[in-house]
């Protein structure tokens, strides 16, 4: 039989039971749409998170106190026998040739008060180098002073969202604020910078690192950020940094070096697993839809037993009958797949509009894979009913019996 004729017969057979076809088709389309939306969302999440970490910069290395092996996660303050100190940071900047600049970083939460107004802010204790290192821009006034890191001063630079809240309609420069009982003078405000790694830099307050150590009563740093000289690869700088710090920490490697590449690699693994899990969950609905199609095809074989007998009496071969029912199941699933791609596309467009940070379009490979999987579902689901149809004897089938 010609393929075009077989296709036309399959379309006619499916069209004859529109409601049943539509319901089966919807089952498949929902499964395909779910897979498509999940993979697209996972891709959007992956891109968002990767972009966030990419802003660290390929030429930046973060030194964190503690070992990854100790806690199993990126270590934090207080997880190492030796503190990571301002002196360590200074030694790295001075002692490792390939480092262009560096800055110590201490982070804490504290209440910021001014003229009866009060709000909690994230406080970054750092130095003047942070401005260049993180690509910040000063909106008014100036950034932190370039005096020695060990010397604190009672000054503060405010993120872009803070002045309107604390000094509505007023110029904050030169005004005094209270931070954890300390009186600090506002010397500058920052231009909007946005969110970075989940931290809204526009809501942060920056103070000299030594001042932050005094306010939070700690010697250790949250991390040291090091920027490499142009052309130096992060991997090449790791050993010299380790050597300097090990020597300062009595031979112990109680710190962790984090590079963008390493983070992205770890992240990739996590996001791969996440994507796989989401796709697997969504695929369950496609499997259920496959059972639905198999059931519909079994009903079709049962209902059309006499027709199968007739076709055989008119000269259809077993292969013709097998191909016919496989084609119907495949067509059913392919239509469902196409509808599912449409639904999935619309759903991801709606989600992208609602959550622009996760905005993503279904990848061409995902659309192709969705259609291929739906076609595969049709073939798998249709095989058993089609084989049952093929095996019918002409005489018994004409009599409406299956055995």
């Amino acid at each position: 039989m010609r393929w075009s004729d077989a296709l036309a017969l399959a379309v006619r057979a499916l069209s004859a039971h529109r409601r049943r076809t539509l319901l089966s088709l919807l089952g498949v389309s929902i499964g395909v749409a779910a897979v498509l939306v999940m993979t697209t969302l996972a891709a959007g999440a992956r891109r968002y998170v990767a972009d966030q970490f990419r802003t660290i910069g390929a030429d930046v290395i973060a030194v964190v106190p503690g070992r990854v092996e100790t806690s199993g996660t990126i270590p934090g303050v207080g997880s190492a026998p030796n503190d990571l100190t301002i002196a360590d940071a200074r030694a790295l900047v001075r002692g490792v040739d390939c480092i262009a600049r560096g800055t110590p970083l201490l982070i804490g939460n504290e209440a910021l008060e001014c003229g009866g107004r009060r709000r909690d802010v994230l406080v970054l204790g750092t130095s003047a180098e942070m401005l260049q290192l993180r690509g910040m821009r000063v909106a008014t006034g100036r950034f932190l002073p370039e005096s020695g890191w060990e010397r604190g001063s009672a000054v503060i630079v405010l993120g872009s969202k803070l002045p309107p809240e604390l000094f509505p309609g007023e110029d904050p420069l030169g005004r005094t604020v209270r931070l954890g009982g300390w009186r600090l003078r506002v010397i500058g405000t920052l231009a909007p910078r946005g969110t970075h790694l989940g931290v809204d830099l526009d809501e942060c307050a920056l103070i000299p690192v030594a001042t932050a150590q005094a306010i939070f009563d700690t010697r250790t740093l949250f991390r040291v950020m090091l920027e490499l000289r142009p052309g130096v690869r992060a991997r090449a700088a790791l050993d010299p940094i380790r050597a300097v710090l090990r020597e300062r920490h009595g031979g112990e490697e109680d710190f962790t070096l984090i590079t963008q590449d390493a983070i992205l690699r770890s992240l990739d693994k996590i996001l791969d697993m996440l994507s796989l899990a989401l796709t697997a969950i969504a695929s369950v609905s496609l499997v259920v839809a496959g059972f639905g199609v198999a059931n519909v095809m079994l009903v079709a074989v049962s209902e059309r037993t006499r027709e199968i007998g007739l076709c055989k009496a008119l000269g259809a071969t077993d292969a013709d009958v097998l191909a016919q029912f496989l084609l119907e199941a495949s067509l059913l699933c392919l239509w469902g797949g196409l509808l599912g791609v449409g639904i999935g596309w619309s759903a991801t467009a709606a989600l992208s509009a609602a959550y622009p940070v996760l905005a993503a379009e279904p990848a061409p490979w995902a659309v192709g894979a969705a259609l291929a999987v739906s076609l595969g579902t049709g073939i798998v689901a249709g095989t058993m009913p089609a084989r049952r149809a093929m095996r019918l004897e002409p005489v018994t089938a004409l009599a409406g019996r299956r055995t």
Binding site: A313, L314, G315, P394, V395
Partner: protein, 239 residues
Amino acid sequence: MIELVGIRRSYALGGETIHALDGIDERIESGEHVAVMGPSGSGKSTLLNVIGCLDRPTAGSYRLDGREVAGLSDAELARIRRREIGHVFQAFHLVPRMSALENVELGMLFDSIPPRQRRERALAALASVGMGPRAGHRPGELSGGERQRAAIARAVVTRPRVLLADEPTGNLDQTSGRAVLELLDGLHAAGFTVVIVTHDPGVARRAQRVLLMRNGRIVRRMPASELRTLDEALAGAAP
């Protein structure tokens, strides 16, 4: 030419073996018109199914135009059904979702005949049975007689040599039945070998020869003109 030698067809039914055909020896010449009669369960339809390659004999030899059919593969049997044999059934067996024209075309689909040629042949076949104006109607919109005429058009459209009809007038009123029988007579006159299974002596008398069956055997062969009633004919048959 159809040659049957020692044809048996047995079924296992509930632990018992049923001999639907129990040693059939028969020879039907090309262009012959033969009626098969017998009481219910005598094996008439089974014989027709074996001749039509819809069923395989359990034992014996079946030669169609000199070619042994009994040992052919399923695909080869399908080819014979497609090209050499036309079937007309009591229950018409038209596909309800297809028009009369599409039903007539159905058999040609399996022979990969191009669409235009298929359509021309189907329209000509329908016209030849007086169904041209009803070609676009579905079976549900046709009378019983019209359905059977469409089914006859479907049986002859592939130009087979043998036409097998199983109770072709069984579901029809007298007028429609007569029209169908006249069609079959015409096909026989046109050179088809026609084998009809019937209960009706009136139908059988239109044939040249009648085969009387009982308990899976042909118990009497007689000229159709000598047939009066089935009971009387069987009374004169061998035990």
